[in-house]
Symmetry: C2
Subunit: 255 residues, 2 copies
DNA sequence: GTGGGTTTTTCGGAATGAGGGAATACTTCT
DNA sequence: AGAAGTATTCCCTCATTCCGAAAAACCCAC
């Protein structure tokens, strides 16, 4: 979220700010938006009316909200990923086999983004909604993806986002991260030991395209008590690796 | 898609047109967009650069595409619906029990919109993506919703959209539709007998809020050969009705 | 019903920014 | 290297965005 004032088309940026404010407030009136935005009420009113006519915003009396149009467009964006269709069934199977939360993650706009999440028996759905972003340097799928990326791309991402410390386990030095990525690269699997959130461990494997560039990662996560010992070191990693292998094969046969 | 030239903020409408063109073309260059849009290349370039900076569009060299940001925002829009969370598990259960495709549908912007779709054993995923719109007058969930709406709202929807004929079974006269809605209202269940697409039958029940206004519908659909006779008349309708009842109860206990 | 407080919507005017066309930079193929 | 096609920049003009204030709509209590 750097400077967003230098866009060529300012009015579109204003509309985007209105949408963003609607996201934060869930549902808002014009006066509420007026408090959260550096614009006059009449301006906000114009943009809301425009966005409503275009179908991006719905109003219930005086409460404005973002519409499901975003979901429709988002579905198109998601279906574009060749990983998606074969990934869904693979993630479901992985969730069932492990009993944990399994996700499909891709990289877009230098961020990790969740495409799909399936839940196993003993999992609570705390996060992992489609479209949700997750940091790359301190999650299992994020690190798995970084490990197969071109070094210059990794540099540009780390330079842009830094290595924010989420927990005491977060790797915050570039050297430590590089060493870890080397490790992940040689083993073909990435671990997250409560580096992002307390009491959440994760395991992930990246899936590369034919050029070696990453197309996504498949991952599972769970509270620490269900992810420790041999289960964390061998059993679950085995499931993840074979899922990733099946996915690679499915992708290769498709195109 | 009526006149969209009279929006207060024209630049936002232009950006929306660019996004829409990107949806149709899946992925496009500036010159391709130039052919599909009544704007100069420099204008299109400005809007694409703006949309990219705002995160709504991504580019891979010269191919522009809509981004997963829409999915993220769409998720927020979807989670706003109180029907969604309890509906997902109900739809899954219904899909498993029936072996067919089950969906959760709501009304927004005078259209039926699919919130979630689950698939049973013998179902192919031909349509039903989240965010997908479906006509109201010739689908089971659509008719179920119309049947519990206030008459004036039904009028305004029919007036706005008409009764387009999709197949020879589509109800195209207002009188026939009204009679059908009456029927649905008294039975509490709606049927679609290939009125929208050939060889697709559907069954749905609406879920009303405390004020009687509809909050959504739960439905199943399948090719005709698996939906006929007693199965179509009794077995599946029974499953749908009990699902809807459980959903009503779940909604009532939540708030 | 009637009226006050609140919120939305309309209206005009001034400054700015959107948009078109042509020129330039870039990439890719021959 | 040259050519063809593409993206990007530049500049100028007219339309438009944006604001502030006034008007209208709405909700509440009385």
């Amino acid at each position: 979220m750097a400077d967003r004032e230098d866009t060529p088309v300012k009015a579109t940026a204003t509309s985007a700010r209105v949408i963003e404010a609607l996201l934060e407030l869930e549902s808002a009136t014009i006066t509420e938006l007026d408090d959260h935005l550096p614009h006059s009420k009449s301006t906000i009113h114009s943009h809301l009316e425009t966005l409503e006519q275009l179908g991006f915003v719905v109003r219930d009396n005086w409460a404005y909200q973002v519409s499901l149009r975003f979901l429709e467009i988002g579905s198109v964006a998601r279906n574009r990923y060749p990983l998606y269709q074969p990934g869904v069934s693979e993630v479901r199977q992985l969730a069932t086999a492990s009993g944990l939360v399994a996700s499909l993650v891709v990289i877009e706009r230098q961020r990790g983004i969740c495409l799909y999440t399936a839940m196993g028996k003993k999992s609570d759905r705390s996060f992992g909604d489609p479209g949700e972003t997750l940091p790359l340097h301190c999650t299992a799928p994020g690190k798995a993806l970084l490990a197969v990326m071109a070094p210059e791309d990794v540099d540009s991402i780390i330079d842009g986002h830094g290595l924010r410390e989420y927990t005491e386990n977060t790797l915050t030095s570039r050297a430590a991260l590089d060493e870890e990525l080397q490790d992940i690269q040689s083993r073909g699997i990435a671990f997250n030991r409560e580096e992002w959130r307390e009491d959440v461990r994760g395991i992930a494997a990246a899936v590369e395209g034919k050029t070696g560039s990453p197309v996504g990662a498949i991952s599972v996560r769970s509270p620490t008590d269900t992810m420790s010992g041999k289960r964390f070191q061998q059993d679950i990693p085995g499931l993840v690796i074979s899922s990733a292998n099946r996915l690679r094969k499915a992708l290769r046969s498709e195109r």
